[in-house]
Symmetry: none
Subunit: 301 residues, 2 copies
């Protein structure tokens, strides 16, 4: 008759899906909420607002939009979920053996079973990608890049620069004026100084968040550019300055993996290709011709 019919859907999922109907500042709150769920929401409004880089009223407005009458009411919901997720039942489920038995650990091949494990783990990271990247954020990123920006500049951190470079190479085949800045604060600073109101900056900042990333993001924002930040699930400190944040899962034992990161970059490029239409196809054709020239010059038969 009364109360709680069935099991409520996690609030996290609703926030995740409704990301795109939020205002920019509200989105920042939503992001920190998802990044540190549910802890961030169980702190005070001031703490949450501070972590998100906004103000208390913004937090309250977000909750209002989500249909909560007050902050305590919102916290009640979170507490209920937390309790449910720590119930003996869910606990038992969590300790289950192997969720996805992709590769039966073939007996008698020690080196290979480690390899199989590693591959399986990475396959899972990639499979989880659609759950870590809010759909609305991707759409906005694609729209931005396919909307004929005057200029795009891309850079990464110590390791991630390689993926950054790959994305740059792919986008360069699709749209004009794509720069890759290997040393955004050094030799390549000019590529950022070139940025203006119609520019898009894509910054990778993973794990041990490098101070440099924050500086780069600030620099781009200061010049009026839109910033797309690609980071891990714990959110880079630059997150509150960026316009669009694309979080991706990296975690692994003993090593982190760039698998999902690469897939994100590639798929983003593919979506931009579809979004840019005719222009992209034409540009690709040009590109193809240039490669032939390059090869003719360098790869002498």
């Amino acid at each position: 008759m009364t109360g709680t019919l069935a099991v409520e859907r996690p609030l996290r999922d609703e926030i995740f899906e409704r990301m795109d109907e939020l205002t920019p500042a509200e989105r920042k709150v939503a992001r920190t909420l998802l990044a540190r769920y549910p802890a961030a929401g169980l702190e005070s409004t001031a703490a949450l607002a501070g972590a998100a880089g906004t103000s208390k009223p913004t937090v309250l407005r977000l909750l209002d939009r989500l249909g909560f009458g007050s902050y305590p009411e919102f916290q009640d919901r979170l507490r209920a979920e937390a309790t449910r997720s720590m119930s003996p039942l869910s606990r038992a489920r969590a300790h289950r053996p192997a969720p996805r038995g992709a590769n039966p650990p073939r007996a008698g091949s020690p080196g290979n079973s480690v390899f199989a494990h590693a591959v399986g783990h990475r396959a899972r990271l990639v499979a989880r990608l659609p759950d870590t990247v809010p759909p609305g954020e991707i759409e906005r990123a694609v729209a931005l890049l396919a909307g004929r920006p005057k200029h795009v500049v891309i850079s990464g951190g110590y390791f991630s620069r390689l993926v950054a470079r790959m994305l740059a190479m792919q986008l360069d085949q699709l749209i004009p004026n794509v720069d890759y800045a290997d040393e955004p604060l050094g030799a390549d600073v000019g590529k950022y100084l070139r940025a203006g109101r119609d520019s898009v900056a894509i910054v990778f900042d993973l794990r041990r968040h490098e101070l440099a990333a924050k500086e780069v993001v600030s620099m781009a924002k200061a010049r009026g550019a839109s910033v797309i930040l690609i980071t891990d699930e714990t959110l880079s400190p630059s997150a509150d300055e960026a316009d669009i944040v694309l979080p991706v899962a990296l975690d692994g034992v003993p090593f982190d993996s760039f698998a999902a990161l690469l897939v994100l970059a590639e798929s983003l490029a593919e979506a931009v290709f579809h979004g840019a239409g005719e222009a992209a196809i034409e540009r690709m054709a040009d590109w193809e011709r240039s490669v032939h020239i390059y090869r003719a010059l360098h790869v002498r038969g």
Copy 2:
């Protein structure tokens, strides 16, 4: 590289065990805490005391006995546990169903469905990896690299060089004398001339098989080095000269993907890490220290 060593024991367990050293009123608090864990502890002291039928100071005394300096400190711990128990990882383990349609391709989101498609395709490429790479070949490759070769040299083609470089960076953290040759037939030819009977050459050669790759492989073989060739399923022309061939699936529409390639490289490195044992761990520690020095020099606070 991953952090968080050892998972803390749930606070609930400690409370449960130490029940008998509590005073009667404290025990009442402990009971309601366990009955509604962790929600009860995430409310206010007054609420918790009320639910337990005691007073606020009793709550505080209990926490004091458990070693918490303040109520907020206690709540921090609780929030941390809740967050951990709802982490994407435990979450993925919890609901088993949904093979992989996690995000229904929301109507009216054109850019995103293309993206979702691209991600799905790449996830499949990665999943197929164990079927494209013969297990025996992997084992031999791992054995070769973990068997203390005198020297390892790695190179790739026009695009694949980025993955080659990644593999080089990873292996460099695990074993000594790893070279990355960006232009194996040009400026970096010396790195191949260095090769000898105890060397291992890893060569990437994908798709439009570049003539250069064949030359590089021949050069390495001529000097007595073992050659590991990483190529696509159609097999590079260099395949018959190489000692070990690791084929990987790339094909996609409209673009090829390096997802499986990257996963292969990363997983290979991980297997080598396990295979190399003590030595690899020690080297990683050295590496870590160097990185700190690098960062201290370059990332001025």
